[in-house]
Symmetry: C2
DNA sequence: GATGTTCATGAGAATCATTCTCGCACAGCG
DNA sequence: CGCTGTGCGAGAATGATTCTCATGAACATC
């Protein structure tokens, strides 16, 4: 361990503030993808007022630290959700937002092999599945 | 042919205008995903001036008619490209935009089966693969 | 070719998510 | 208890996309 090494409270080197804690706590309770605007409103509603700019900044830092997944909806709005550390994809209910994390090695291998066959390197992929969950299929509109 | 039946030049019921033709012709020449702003600039550069609002409107109508694919980049900008009519996905070079259309029945079946196992209905999916193409890997920065 | 109805166009304003600015507050540290 | 650099936030700025609405053009009909 070199001299300049900070090694603060958590591994990310982020300071622990009321705002960051409130946002992390909220995300911990939620199970669906929510937009930054949504999260900001939810925080305000529960009394943990946080500036909108801070919500955006903190979400971005959490994404950079790999603690959140981001999804871009068709209307261009980004949605965030806490995620497990291992690589996975999502099955999302387009009605209520309920989300299931799914992993599938064959898909991973297919993407890598297919890209390699076309001479592509440094490959990444994006796989999301949308549908209507059982509860929403049953429930009235 | 009944009386009220329009049956215009193309099947879509869209009027044939100079602006629409110019945009369609441009898209026909391009092989990569380009943003609406890009396409607007390209049209202007080649002398086929078209209003920005018209570019957006026309792109949207072509997407609705299934003649274009849309991709939402991480910065929230939508990119468009002409597409073949059958279901497929893309292998996109994140450096030059070169795109290869790929189809893979196993992935289709996996998505459908996996969603069904979780009780989801009305399933759709989104699968895109990004990488650096052979040419861009070789070329200097 | 002339005409009327209807849809398309486009300049500019409006919308809206996201980012930036920058002075002030405070977490972490000794 | 101060110091210092990072985090905060109100408001402005950005930038893509959409809307408004008066004008222009396509097309079926005469
Ligand atoms: Zn649902
Ligand atoms: Zn994967
Ligand atoms: Zn390339
Ligand atoms: Zn597919």
């Amino acid at each position: 361990m070199t001299v300049g090494d900070p090694a603060p409270a958590d591994l990310s080197g982020r300071r622990s503030t009321r705002q960051r804690s409130a946002l992390v706590a909220l995300l911990e309770e939620l199970d669906e993808f929510r937009s930054a605007q949504d999260l900001h409103a939810l925080l305000r509603a529960r009394g943990d007022a946080v500036g909108l700019a801070t919500v955006y900044r903190t979400l971005q830092s959490l994404v950079d630290d790999g603690q959140l997944d981001v999804l871009r909806s068709t209307d261009g709005e980004a949605a965030y959700r806490r995620c497990s550390p291992s690589h996975h994809h999502h099955l999302v209910c387009r009605s209520c937002g309920r989300t299931v994390e799914v992993a599938d090695p064959p898909v991973e291998r297919w993407a890598a092999r297919m890209a390699a066959e076309h001479g592509f390197t440094d490959v990444q992929h994006q796989v999301e599945v949308f549908g209507t969950c059982a509860a929403c299929t049953t429930a009235p509109s």
